[in-house]
């Protein structure tokens, strides 16, 4: 008898079901644990940024990639988390264990507000309403800054100073988010999301409450994002409305597009790509010996190259990095035979 059979329900719902997967996971854990002791300060900071951004990217992937609700208000939600933390810290001198749940609560409430238009609107109109909410949240944050006299931004003292300690905190947060998302997607909620993504009418006929599924997608995604915003505030030690521009939203959307829609692996790969991108541009410029000549316009170069990369992915590889990875994997697995990858 050849092949791989599952004989118990437990095996069916296990996240890791083959020995090879367990081995690869063990290798990954070891690499992640050793990384901060092998990396220098710059690479440690990059890793922390990736881990931090991955929380937001996974949250957006849940909302857009799985539940199919387009949101252009992601930076606004991050800002809401960060500003809640900043304001509580400044006004009440609140400690970390108070600001984190407070940020989560604000995120959940805002998620409800962001999600309400989705009950009536779809597609483009929903994207536009979240965009409008983004501007309103940023405006409120900026207003707080100017009213209270923190015109340049709010400075927050972080309870953690060591980047290595931050690495493990962020790794734990990111891993917890990933695990939460994986489990959620296998459960009733996640399956309901996929159903409303595929076709709302059919989902409703199957007994799924479309309103509840949509609102839960918004609330859960926003809560995670606001928590990421809170961690962002502590990690940077600084909150200002300028940091949460529309460009940040675009970066997060780019993460899930470049990574590959409808895949958590895609969210993580996309995050790595987008965070590493400016550093890669820097390295390329240093390699070409252009650093001095272009140092004043380096951000413009970043913009242009980022736009190009996004366009390239949208036009040539709509499945994103995950699509590339799957194709490469199939090619290796099937070698020396050739087969077109099955449509997904």
């Amino acid at each position: 008898m050849s092949g791989y059979y599952r004989t118990r329900y437990g095996e069916d719902s296990a996240l890791l079901d083959t020995r090879a997967q367990k081995a690869w996971l063990a290798v990954l854990v070891v690499i992640l644990a050793v990384y901060p002791f092998a990396a220098n300060v710059l690479w440690l900071d990059i890793a922390n940024q990736v881990l931090l951004a991955s929380i937001g990217a996974i949250a957006l992937m849940l909302l857009t990639g799985y539940a199919g609700q387009i949101s252009l208000g992601h930076a606004g939600l991050l800002a809401a988390g960060a500003f809640t933390t900043g304001i509580l810290f400044k006004e009440l001198d609140a400690p970390f264990w108070a600001t984190l749940p407070a940020s989560a609560a604000v995120g959940a409430a805002l998620g409800l507000v962001f999600g309400l238009p989705s009950l009536r609107l779809r597609g483009l109109y929903l994207a536009v309403s979240t965009l409008a909410l983004h501007f309103i949240v940023i405006f409120a944050g900026g207003e707080y800054e100017t009213r209270r006299g923190y015109s340049t931004g709010i400075v927050i003292d972080s309870p953690l100073a060591d980047p290595r300690a931050w690495y493990f905190v962020l790794l734990a947060a990111s891993a917890a988010t990933l695990l939460f998302a994986l489990n959620l997607l296998r459960a009733r909620t996640g399956r309901a999301w996929r159903a409303i993504h595929a076709r709302e009418t059919v989902a409703e006929a199957l007994g799924i409450s479309v309103q509840r599924a949509k609102l839960s997608a918004f609330v859960i995604s926003s809560t995670l994002t606001a928590v990421a915003g809170c961690l962002f505030a502590y990690y940077r030690g600084f909150v200002s409305a300028e940091a949460f521009s529309l460009y940040l939203t675009i970066q997060y959307v780019a993460m899930i597009i470049i990574g590959g829609m409808g895949s958590l692996l895609g969210a993580v790969l996309g995050t790595v790509f987008v965070v590493l991108f400016p550093y890669a541009i820097d390295a390329a410029m240093a390699g070409l010996g252009l650093t001095e000549r272009l140092s004043s316009v380096v951000f413009a170069l970043n913009y242009a190259a980022f736009g190009l990369a996004m366009i390239a992915f949208l036009v040539f590889e709509p499945q994103g990095l995950v699509g590339l990875w799957r194709r490469a994997r199939d090619w290796v697995l099937l070698w020396p035979f050739k087969q077109k990858p099955l449509a997904r």
């Binding site: 857009t64 387009i70 238009p117 009950l119 009536r120 609107l121 779809r122 597609g123 483009l124 109109y125 994207a127 536009v128 309403s129 965009l131 409008a132 909410l133 501007f135 309103i136 405006f139 207003e143 100017t146 709302e200 479309v210 529309l246 460009y247 675009i250 959307v253 780019a254 597009i257 316009v297 951000f299 413009a300 170069l301 970043n302 913009y303 242009a304 190259a305 980022f306 736009g307 190009l308 996004m310 366009i311 949208l314 036009v315 709509p318």
Partner: protein
């Protein structure tokens, strides 16, 4: 009186920008979020042609207009035609990516300094008294340009062969294609016209306040006006611009000048809650739950 003049000028500006959003959306069901950047590109086009044809400002203006039209056609030819038939999100994201690309490329090409194309043309922005109020020369040009553009577009869409084809393509692309209308040509024309009018708005803003990167924000702020009026209605765009401009100017005047950036979006949210398809938009166009 001054308030009314201010509202009129701002409404004309919004209306001039909006007709780009409306044209593209009405014809190809794509929302172009690169409109602000395309406006800026049009303004830089004027800056370049003004220094090229120094001494002949009218020639410079005409060349800048032709350039903007060509840019729109090129955008469709190079990128947007690949997005036909893709999902809404993909098309919107493609325009966003295009916007980022253009923004970076413009800074690389022209630097970050504020430019004054009006000075290059050798004109000045005089202040003209109208009754008890004053209006700038650029303001007058803005109102005139908007009137001309909307009049021209109306005549074009209803009186010419290409205009009728464009409306047909917007109403039912499949049927239009089967009647032998070349959809790609129509879409390209819509992008060209939208970029032309947007570029015109960009040139006028640059003539008034200088040419800098904040123009992108103005382009985005005009978008709520298009949606308030109804994304597929040109008359609605005029009405929406008037509503948004009136709300913005009077709130700035009586409440708080800082509100300027957020008022259009608040009006937009209110509209989405009450009447998502806009004042004069087509109701069945909206995909509703």
């Amino acid at each position: 009186m001054q308030l009314a003049v201010n509202i009129l000028v701002l409404a004309s500006l919004y209306a001039l920008i909006c007709c780009g959003y409306v044209l593209i959306y009405r014809v190809s069901r794509v929302l172009s979020l690169a409109h602000g950047e395309l406006m800026m590109l049009g303004a830089y086009g004027l800056y370049a042609t003004a220094s090229l044809f120094s001494g002949q400002p009218l020639l410079g203006l005409a060349a800048a207009g032709v350039l903007a039209l060509a840019v729109g056609l090129a955008v469709y030819g190079a990128l947007m035609w690949r997005m036909t038939g893709e999902s809404v999100l993909a098309a919107v994201l493609a325009t966003i990516a295009l916007g980022i690309l253009l923004r970076g490329a413009m800074i690389l090409a022209f630097g970050t300094q504020t430019q004054y194309p009006l000075r290059e043309l050798g004109w000045s922005n005089a202040s003209i008294p109208v009754g008890a109020a004053r209006i700038s020369a650029v303001g007058v040009a803005l109102v005139l340009a908007t009137t001309l553009v909307y009049g021209g577009l109306f005549a074009f869409l209803h009186g010419t062969r290409w205009g009728v084809r464009m409306r047909a393509a917007g109403q039912h692309p499949l049927l239009a294609a089967q009647r032998g209308i070349a959809l790609h040509g129509i879409y390209a024309l819509a992008w060209g016209l939208a970029t032309f009018t947007g570029g015109m708005a960009g040139m006028l803003i640059a003539a008034d306040a200088g040419l800098e990167s904040t123009m992108v924000i103005i382009g985005l702020k005009a978008f709520p006006a298009a949606l308030v009026g109804g994304l597929d209605s040109l008359a609605g765009a005029l009405l929406g611009s008037l509503v948004v401009a009136a709300a913005e100017v009077s709130l700035i005047q009586y409440v708080d000048p800082l509100l300027s950036d957020v008022v259009p979006f608040v009006v937009l949210l209110g509209m989405l809650v009450v009447r998502p398809w806009g004042l004069l938009g087509t109701r069945e166009e909206l995909d509703r739950v």
